[in-house]
């Protein structure tokens, strides 16, 4: 049986990448989308069964809420986890990781949050210069 698949929907590359890497290290196959629209494209493609969608609430147009409604209506076996902040997203990723196929978490989800915050701070410093 192939590893469970998670689709991460997050606009910010500096947030999405560490979350995706974390979940890969927990043993999941991870697909990435930067918007709810792209997420729907991946889901409708259907070439891979997605077990969990981890989406930010505000993921463009359509919103994360609209994506969640669509998933519940069309893919009832797919679980949807919505997150409103980066901290919530990493916490929920930690929860998913604990349930994941890997025997143990490679590192605590708070390390992921610290890492994301360092990346965002570096970006903001670059934007100012």
């Amino acid at each position: 049986m192939s590893e469970p698949c998670i689709l991460i929907v997050e606009e910010e590359l500096l947030v999405r990448t560490p979350l995706a890497e974390y979940l890969r290290e927990c043993g999941y196959l991870v697909l990435e989308a930067s918007s709810a629209g792209d997420a729907r494209t991946l889901l409708e493609d259907g070439s891979r069964r997605v077990d969990i969608v981890l989406a930010e609430v505000k993921s463009g147009e359509p919103s994360g809420f609209a994506l969640a409604s669509w998933v519940r209506a069309h893919l009832p076996d797919t679980q949807v986890v919505l997150a409103g902040t980066i901290a919530t997203a990493t916490e929920k990723a930690g929860d998913i990781c604990q349930e994941g196929p890997a025997l143990s978490k490679p590192y605590d989800h708070r390390v992921v949050l610290d890492y994301i915050q360092r990346l965002l701070a570096a970006r903001d410093r670059n934007d100012r210069t």
Binding site: L14, E21, E32, A33, S34, L42, V111, L119
Partner: protein, 133 residues
Amino acid sequence: MVPQALLQPRPARILVVEDEVLVRALIAEELRLAGFDVIEADRADDALTYIGAGEQVDLVFSDIQTPGSLDGLQLAETLRDKYPDIPVILTSGNAPIRRVGIVEAFVPKPYDVTQTIALMSAILAQKSPGEPL
């Protein structure tokens, strides 16, 4: 990336810039299966932001037509000026009209994934002879 930095040897990290999500997902998955660490960006701006945040990238594979303020060619030009050690491969469904000579290679779309990955491996091997990819 925190976990990868702890692993020796570190797999080469390839930043894929492609706004077509199905195309990006396919090449990213095949690259990961081939043992690479893959960063997925749908805009050239995001790719530059990622590198500018201090993250190490060993090779950039970018579509030329990307949304946002930078296209793939402008990304390649910026990388050549600011990060000349990062090789760049560009791809497009249209023939490039200018300055494609500034990059290591141009791959026309639709591309053969296996051959494209072999090309990336060859460029990375040339960049760091003797180092594991």
